[in-house]
Amino acid sequence: MVVPTDAGGSADRIGRLYAKYLPKFLPGSPNVIVRNMPGGNTIIAANFFYGSKTDGLTLYTSPSSTALEDLLGNKALKFSLRELTAVAAPPASTNVVFVRPEVIEKPEDILKAQRLIWGQGAGSSTSFLLAAEMIGIPVAKAVFSWSGQADAFRAFLAGETNISSVSSTGFDAQVKPFVERGEAKLLMQSGMIDETGSVIRHPSFPNLMTVVDLGEKVNGKAPSGMAFDVFKAIAASLDSMKQILFLPPNTPDSIVQAYWDSADKMVKDPDFLKESSALTDAGDTWRAGKAFDQMFHKSYGMKPEASEWLKNTMQTKYGLVLQ
């Protein structure tokens, strides 16, 4: 199994879970060896995997970086994730946006907030900036140069920045204790995309407004337009599609079927669920098998013009170059 990050990253943790539990349900209980291939922003490992044999012996655990490179059309990546067969994926997560308590009294005041400095780790999803764009949050500065989410949160606690976001997977461990102590205030969530394509609240945060709810409240109407379309594409293709286990294209049907069946059994295994609960969002469930593969192919993707718009807006407005 190819994992395109260092040992210990979130894709690696999930990859090692697959490697530990999937063999239990595969015919012949094979040994799965995890091979970490960090570097090249996951592209090296992804290309290596794409060029491997289609005998079902090489798998890929895909972090959202690979999907982002794919959606933005990076030519160094030799294929699109659409060509692959999806086997399983962790529960869908959402992004939660929070501010320092001195910034606003209640979420509705956010349009009047002074000197908002948004700090975010490198490689994090841009959906939060799109959210700001959609409802007109006055972000004075957006700083993306922190080394990761944890580093960005440190800067938030130190008062260097005053607004940031975290994935719901990391929320409980990192941000929740500070919210309980009143040192951070929740503003909104990016939500989830349901089957009809609308933005709904994530089951883990039933009482937190989505960006659409907040937009309706402060602007009197739901967000629309290009920013909103791109936001939804990112939410459906990146935010809820992390750490997917893939098989290479053209894998024989019998092998694919065997993987789908085992994955279906794996995500019902109580030991697996117990061990994975520390690493995933408790609000949603694991997705696996043929049903998930179909869902992936239905929801994953972004139109080329949307991807162009995203690159242009991020560069001109926030100085962020997406290549």
Binding site: D6, A122, S145, W146, D151, A155, E160
Partner: protein, 500 residues
């Protein structure tokens, strides 16, 4: 809960035989991981994650802390004996340790390094205890501008003051800074100098640069001379001399440990940078030093610092749930897996647990020093083995270590490129340490500079600590310019033949 009560409870929890056994196992594992280049503590911990799931929390903790506390002690062994850093933070220990081994003082060098490591580790544990009430205000004291200046000061001090030839040193440091810009830019997602090669997108791995700059050139020279590492036959004696060296320089040990703990507390700077900053501190605060030619103080300082880092590193991890390094990020996951929630609750509800961490850290430091000291004689004898016998083994060691970085062919190509660069620099008398420092601190410096300007525009320059560190940089540059030229020329031949 009473503070001292919790302190005692933490120790009692660890004294259970099973838990103690796992601490010991962790130490053994850590020694292996430290000695082998390329195999790092972070990766090993990640591999251990599935194993510790379901374990008793204190047992799991003893295993993990035991492992990660000792890698920075054990990685000095290949650094001193063969100029091969067991992990990136040991590259600094080559500068003084390897010349000592050449002079037949391998045992003394290792004795000094291990004892300094132990004191550094203990210092880190004490800092962790004392930091509980003051960590939060400290977090708000130093922000990106201060960290940027700290990085810059490190490069200028090592480049300008650590060698005999400040100008060449500064140029090497500048080259290191440039090399660090290869790959993605912080904050904007822009790629520089990647020439459409996917290998370069995330920059050159640090371990490759360290192995190429130091390991390969020394191997080539050893082969050319056909001798063993040690140019004199007797190497077994001097362990106690090494211990004495450390204790005689107790004040340096304390200052270096404090630097290590502070750098550990600072976000993202890490063990390698701590070693270099402590080294530059030792060089600039010591008179009549023979740095670069086997001055034991230049070995004691980084060893104390890179072991004290752990204590400092654990503070934000445990108290705020914010990992300051990759290793800590994995450790945080491990804590969550065993049912411990790091964060502000740690200080009240989970205080005994916090102190178990402290005790594990302290006890692991002592065990590893005892074990490594007992092994010094047989290990040091390796430095008298003839070149043609030992070189194939070291080369294998270096090549496998390099391939661990990403598992791509690019690793070996990059290793060869840096090997040639390192050997050439050694031949023409350009010091290599400043290049390493520039490379280690370069990406951090860039990140912090970018952040400082993004948040404050030009106003970051007026913060008091920034001005203070500027003054240090200017003072050392003035010192460099005024240093008598004659003296520099006199030292030149020695630098080429003896120095690293």
């Amino acid at each position: 809960m009473d503070y001292f009560d919790a302190l005692a409870q933490g120790l009692v929890a660890l004294m259970d035989p099973t838990r103690f056994l796992f601490l010991f196992l962790g130490v053994l594992l850590g020694i292996a991981v430290g000695v082998l280049p390329g195999l790092g503590g972070t990766a090993t911990m990640a591999i251990l994650l599935p194993v510790i799931y379901g374990m008793d929390p204190y047992t799991a903790l003893a295993l993990l802390i035991g492992m990660m506390a000792v890698t920075a002690t054990a990685d000095t062994i290949p650094a001193v004996l063969f100029a091969v850093p067991g992990s990136t933070s040991a590259a600094t220990s080559i500068i003084e340790g390897y010349p000592m081994a050449k002079q037949g003082q391998a045992a003394r060098a290792l004795g000094a390094a291990f004892s300094a490591s132990m004191l550094g580790g203990l210092f880190g544990a004490v800092v962790l205890v004392l930091s509980v009430p003051i960590a939060r205000p400290l977090l708000q004291q130093w922000l990106s501008p201060e960290f940027f200046m700290l990085c810059l000061t490190g490069v200028v001090l090592v480049g300008g003051l650590a060698g005999d030839q400040p100008l060449k040193g500064l140029m090497a440091g500048g080259l290191g800074l440039l090399l660090a810009t290869i790959g993605g830019a912080p904050g904007v997602g822009f790629y520089r100098f990647t020439f459409d090669l996917p290998y370069l997108l995330t920059g050159i791995p640090l371990i490759i640069v360290a192995l190429g700059m130091f390991g390969l050139p020394e191997l080539v020279d050893m082969q050319m001379k056909g001798t063993s590492v040690s140019e004199v036959p007797i190497v077994g004696k001097g362990v106690w001399q090494g211990y004495k060296d450390t204790f005689r320089n107790w004040w340096l040990v304390i200052r270096s440990s404090a630097i290590g703990a502070w750098v550990g507390f600072a976000p993202g700077i890490g063990q390698s940078a701590a070693s270099w900053i402590a080294y530059s501190h030792a060089v600039t605060t010591t008179k009549d030093g023979k740095f670069g030619k086997g001055d034991v103080r230049g070995l004691i300082a980084p060893e104390a610092a890179n072991n004290a880092v752990r204590g400092g590193d654990l503070i934000p991890t445990l108290l705020f749930g914010i990992p300051g390094s990759g290793g800590m990020a994995v450790f945080l996951v491990a804590l969550i897996l065993i049912g411990v929630r790091p964060g502000p609750d740690m200080v009240d509800k989970q205080l005994p647990f916090l102190f178990t961490v402290v005790w594990s850290l302290a006890i692991a430091s002592i065990i590893v020093t005892a074990m490594c000291t007992a092994l010094i004689r047989p290990i040091a004898a390796l430095s008298t083995v003839k070149a043609h016998i030992i070189i194939p083994f070291i080369l294998l060691f270096v090549m496998v270590g390099a391939f661990q970085a990403t598992g791509d062919w690019g690793d070996w190509i990059a290793l060869a490129v840096f090997g040639v660069l390192g050997w050439t620099m050694k031949r023409v008398g350009y010091p290599r340490p400043p290049l390493m420092v520039g490379f280690v601190l370069g990406s951090l410096a860039e990140r912090y500079l970018w952040t400082s300007v993004a948040i404050w525009d030009g106003n970051w320059l007026y913060r008091p600590w920034v001005l203070g560190l500027f003054a240090v940089i200017i003072a050392s540059l003035v010192f460099v310019v005024r240093k008598p030229k004659q003296q520099q020329e006199q030292n030149e031949p020695a630098q080429i033949s003896g120095g690293v």
